[in-house]
Amino acid sequence: MQTELRSSLAGNQCSDHLLHRLHDLQSRFQHIPAQEIPPLATELQLPISQVEAVIDFYSFFHRSPRGRIDLLFSNCTSCGDLSLMQQLCTSLDVSPGITRADGAVSIDETSCIGMCDQGASLLVNGRIMTRLNPQRLQQIAGLVNAGTPLDAWPAEWFAVPDHVRHPGLLLNDALQPGAGLRAAIQRGAENLLAEINQSGLRGRGGAGFNTSLKWQLCRDAPATTRYVVCNADEGEPGTFKDRVLLNTYAQQVFEGMTLCAYAIGAKHGYLYLRGEYRYLLPTLEATLAEQRAANLLGENILQQPGFNFDISIVVGAGAYICGEESALLESLEQKRGVPRVRPPFPVTHGYLGQPTVVDNVETLVAATHIAVQGGQWFKAQGTEKSAGSKVLSVSGDCATPGIYEFPFGTSLQQVLDACGGQDAQAVQVGGPSGTLVGQAEFGRKLAFEDLATGGSIMVYGAQRDLLAVVRNFSHFFAHESCGFCTPCRVGTPLLRKYVDKIASGHGTPYDQEEMARLAKVMKRRSHCGLGQTAANPLLDLLERFPHVCTDRLLHQDYEPFFNLDAALATTRTLTHRDDAEAHLS
């Protein structure tokens, strides 16, 4: 079975991947009909329980029909505006999450869709729609009620421009397709590794692991089959630089994967694309086809006998946790995206248990440039511990949100000056799992040794309610917890409850204390990075902006979590009672 799975997945086309088959069913029937599950499981030779588990795990699959037009509004603090969702719900007479009786439309919210520089955005039947405003929503309501098919909606509504505001080392460096591979082949695999080692390149996803070491460990791991996986599951709210890299620099991403394959001796690679970016799929497939035609992929690449490598794209289905590399591998293996116990790490036990390099999109782009320009060229920028440049996704309360590439070591203030975010009171660096910093720390440097970031810079102006921001993040984590370990599964909703209580003006100093205690338990005891970092925004808020919370606390010892008298309302009605004993004060 394992070998069959391997051969069925190792083809160029991944059309038989469970996630893709479920996506097809979801698109055809607006849900996954129960009777379709057993035949699908039989065909794919998977246990029914696994198919069922996958359906329930990913938020883009549904058991009951969604509307023929299914709208998902981003609830991110940068690309979301839920008041617009409410407006559309009212004009279409829909409740969030409940399909309208005629089956025409359903409306709901979803976690950040990576459109943070495009204004309020949504997904409609998996397609991106940006720059939303009340007028646009009125037009949408009209089209929905008229039953106009999505293909007939104005094409410009679906445009997603790149917004590269400040290109730097990588984005200014135009490369001929194949230049990196040709240079690498000339040098040989060991020298390529040495060059990457000299460049000091570290993983761009946020954790900053040394890239050449990762490749070397994978190359040295005893096995006959190795894999390269590109992590394009860019789910951290406020991050969209991979979207731009995949849209315009996909050739360099794939070439980076091929370089890695050359270095480690892999025959096959996967690009795991987040479901929200499905609209990029045609362009990406076209780029792959071009590269195959140019003999940059396929067999005997660039006439090197035995240098065979090809890439397949697997598209996710709405699960933030799949950005964690071992959860991503589980998802690639057609399972629920639950993080694995590490060690062993993917470099020795990755995809299908084989040595696997999992690299961020930007890391692979950087590798392509380093292969051409050399390690010294790259190392000349940045700091000693953080070589090169960082492609930043800047969004929020600033004049020009978009992509900014700066050398590592650039201060946050410089980034704010560049994007017109001078009146910021706070910046969330690295997304909700990163660090919330205030003005006093704007002089800090963006670098692994100071303020680490996977690329997300969310700017919050003076008018922003920071508690609302942190509340948004706590809802995000409670929604995205995979449910595997108790500290995170139970902790994230509890945290959400405390933040909601304080935000609604019912919190007490005791609640704040308990919340901070819980946050520390989650940090120490959670299984993976999600639970370990979920409380960071809150702890940062309490440390750096204590007044934001304390100003809203009640000056009393304790306040219940719910309205006690209201909790008796139903039974009062059922028993027709209204005596004193039927009330609680």
Partner: protein, 178 residues
């Protein structure tokens, strides 16, 4: 030296925690030299006087539970949530998957073998809350004694700590939730 005064009660619980309290067995004799029981099913005292420690088993399912819990909070210097139901709602909270109306209709109108179907409305009966809640959602709780039930040893441990003026701390072996 006056004896430490303890009150105990069971709200939406099964008295299993109280049974487990008695499992401290012969050590109870020694303990009683230092403590006395106020309101408790063991003494049949109906209302709580000023106490040092309140042990509350069970969660909150109705209005009376809320009144009793508030009395305990008011009278006890230290309030301990005892057992799974007090801490998380436990078995009674399994009804939280349904509305309280569905529960009452199933029990008193549509259930198998129901005679003279009607939802009881006697004012003597405490009204049910819409959901079952753990104690800490209605009053401040000082300590939690987990377990279903907590073992006799766990009871003895937490009481011994408090009697000795120590911050209660359960050894890992006693810290379990089932």
């Amino acid at each position: 030296m006056p004896k430490i005064r303890i009150a105990t009660t069971s709200l939406a619980g099964c008295f299993g925690c109280h049974m487990s309290l008695l499992d401290i067995d012969e050590r109870l004799v020694g303990l009683l030299e230092h403590v006395e029981f106020n309101r408790s099913p063991l003494t049949d005292i109906k209302h709580c006087g000023p106490c040092d420690i309140g042990l509350v088993e069970g969660g909150l399912c109705n209005a009376e539970n809320v009144h009793v819990l508030r009395e305990f909070r008011q009278q006890c210097k230290i309030l301990i949530a005892v057992g799974a139901c007090a801490i998380n709602g436990g078995v009674p909270a399994m009804r939280n998957h349904y509305s309280v109306q569905e529960c009452l209709e199933e029990a008193y109108l549509n259930g198998v073998g129901v005679d003279n179907p009607m939802i009881p409305d006697d004012p003597e009966l405490p009204l049910l809350l819409s959901k079952v809640h753990p104690l800490h959602e209605v009053v401040r709780v000082d300590y939690y004694l987990p377990g279903c039930p907590p073992s006799g040893d766990a009871f003895f441990n937490i009481l011994s700590d408090l009697l000795a003026g120590r911050e209660p701390s359960l050894p890992k072996a006693m810290l379990h939730y089932d």
